[in-house]
């Protein structure tokens, strides 16, 4: 079943066309890797899937992206709701200047969750899913910046998992991390794919090989090849 359908999609920053005539179907409950050399548009493509690109004033697009059969660019779509459904983890860990607990519960607090007592429960569950709970359970009130880089990145994953997204976008989230953190993150993703669709821009081809069922190659913004059952 196709979760995401990208149709004749073009994307521009000003006059610069970053994505060219892109067509792709992404299947539900699988890990799809989008792989390409630097500046090939993989990050931009991920950013388009939750309309994060809208934040750039010069962004323009043509074509369409459908999630569950509905266009994400339709005028009625709530961008904030879309971004909760389609969560994004950035290349560089980005802790907010607050405690670990406040970081993970940030998205929940935006929702005015009335049942405040559920927040600690969801925070714990998210941190467990991101394989970080055991390392931080005794210091949830510590500043998030006191965590190591790998822990920060797992916290960022927990932060988005707290919102229970359908789709998880991971942009080179393991570049610059130690092998143990990388292994933990990859393990979490393998478990999470039962609940959600994961699109990752892996930082090397070995990672794509380890975790994903389907690899899409792109270059200079263009679709090159899609390989299912990928093994090197």
């Amino acid at each position: 079943m196709n979760k995401i359908e990208i149709k004749d999609f073009n994307f521009f920053y000003g006059k610069n066309r970053v994505i060219r005539n892109f067509n792709l179907n992404i299947e539900a409950n699988k890990i799809t890797s989008i792989f390409g050399p630097a500046n090939s548009g993989t990050t931009t493509l991920l950013c388009c899937l939750n309309r994060f690109c809208d934040l750039n004033n010069e962004a323009r697009y043509s074509g369409d992206i459908l999630i569950d059969g509905k266009s994400i660019f339709a005028p009625k779509v709530s961008v904030t709701a879309l971004r909760r459904r389609v969560g994004m983890v950035f290349e560089v860990p980005t802790p907010l200047p607050m405690s670990i607990f406040d970081n993970v519960s940030y998205g929940l607090r935006l929702l005015h969750v009335k049942r405040k007592q559920r927040i600690p429960e969801i925070v714990e569950m998210s941190l467990r899913q991101a394989a970080l709970w055991d390392e931080v359970k005794n210091r949830l009130n510590f500043p998030a910046a006191s965590l190591s880089g790998g822990q920060q990145q797992r916290m960022c994953i927990a932060r988005i998992l707290a919102l229970e997204p359908d789709v998880l976008l991971i942009d080179r989230a393991c570049s610059g991390l130690d092998p143990i953190s990388t292994a933990k993150i990859e393990g979490s993703l393998m478990r999470l794919k039962k609940q959600m669709t994961i699109v990752i821009s892996p930082h090397n081809i070995q990672q794509a090989n380890r975790i994903s069922e389907c690899v899409v190659f792109m270059q200079k913004g263009e679709w090159v090849e899609k390989i299912t059952d990928f093994r090197i």
Binding site: F90, L96, P97, L110, A144, A145, S146
Partner: protein, 277 residues
């Protein structure tokens, strides 16, 4: 030149510069406190001035300072901080934005006596408020606006872009992002601007002599004339009325500004306990 030697020279130069600055600053404060503290006593703080300030205390200038400064800051803060948020977050940079920013920058450099003249013509005469605490407050509010706008805008725009991006990526609206991420990160910088503005109000003389007058009595409403400590000090010193009481007032001014700084900093520390830096 040997790297070691240039390193030492650089270190010596900055050391001498900071030592010199520290020396000048402390000697000024020490001089005023040395001259002024003996004049300060409980009766000096609580009694009304007598014989044009030659005798008695400075109860009415203390009240005047408070009554002029508080409304001025309360009026200028919402407008100033609001404008700063507009400039830093809401505008994409057009003619209006540049005009607002340019006028704020220009207004910051105008001598206070010009504000005084404007306040005199507009508030005192045109709006018929007379020489009053209210005219003085309104004039000072306009005078401190540029300070608050500039410092707040710098504080707001120095919040890292990634914080905002993360907030948006978690489904926050613009206002939620500002409230939960931008304000807690920028509040210190904004507070520094407000403290500077309070300092300018407390130490202002020229603009106030033209708008609030210099009546020595205790002001009984915002519409009565009155003088602040700074004006009192200016008149005592320039007219040679009482150098001891002038220094007493000056010492109290310094203590007041110091006190405001400490209180404001503790308050911010309490309200926005910040973690993560």
């Amino acid at each position: 030149m040997n790297l070691n030697i240039s390193e030492k020279i650089a270190k010596t130069v900055v050391w001498i510069a900071s030592l010199g600055m520290f020396g000048v600053l402390t000697s000024i404060v020490a001089f005023i406190l040395f001259k002024g503290l003996p004049a300060i006593s409980w009766s000096f703080l609580t009694q009304m001035p007598e014989k044009m300030g030659r005798e008695g205390g400075i109860a009415s200038p203390i009240a005047g300072t408070f009554l002029v400064t508080v409304p001025a800051v309360l009026i200028a803060m919402p407008f100033g901080i609001g404008t700063a948020f507009y400039l830093a977050e809401y505008t994409k940079g057009g003619i209006i934005t540049r005009a607002v920013r340019f006028s704020a920058e220009s207004l910051a450099g105008i001598p206070s006596i010009v504000y005084g003249l404007f306040g005199f013509i507009f508030f005192v005469v045109k709006l018929n408020l007379g020489w009053s605490i209210l005219s003085g407050s309104l004039t000072l509010a306009i005078m401190i606006l540029p300070t608050i706008i500039r410092t707040s805008e710098v504080a707001i725009s120095s919040v890292p872009k990634t914080y905002k991006e993360v907030s948006y990526s978690l489904g926050a609206t613009k206002w939620q992002t500002i409230r939960l991420t931008v304000i807690p990160s920028a509040v210190r910088g904004i507070a520094i601007g407000v403290i500077l503005a309070i300092g300018r109000c407390v130490s202002e003389t020229a603009a106030l002599i033209l708008t609030a007058g210099s009546v020595l009595g205790m002001p009984d409403s915002l519409l009565s004339s009155g003088r602040t400590m700074a004006v009192h000090f200016y008149l005592l010193a320039t007219e040679g009325i009482s150098p001891e009481r002038a220094f007493g007032t000056a010492a109290l001014l310094i203590i007041t500004v110091f006190f405001i700084n400490v209180v404001a900093n503790t308050l911010i520390e309490r309200l926005f306990k910040r973690v993560g830096r």
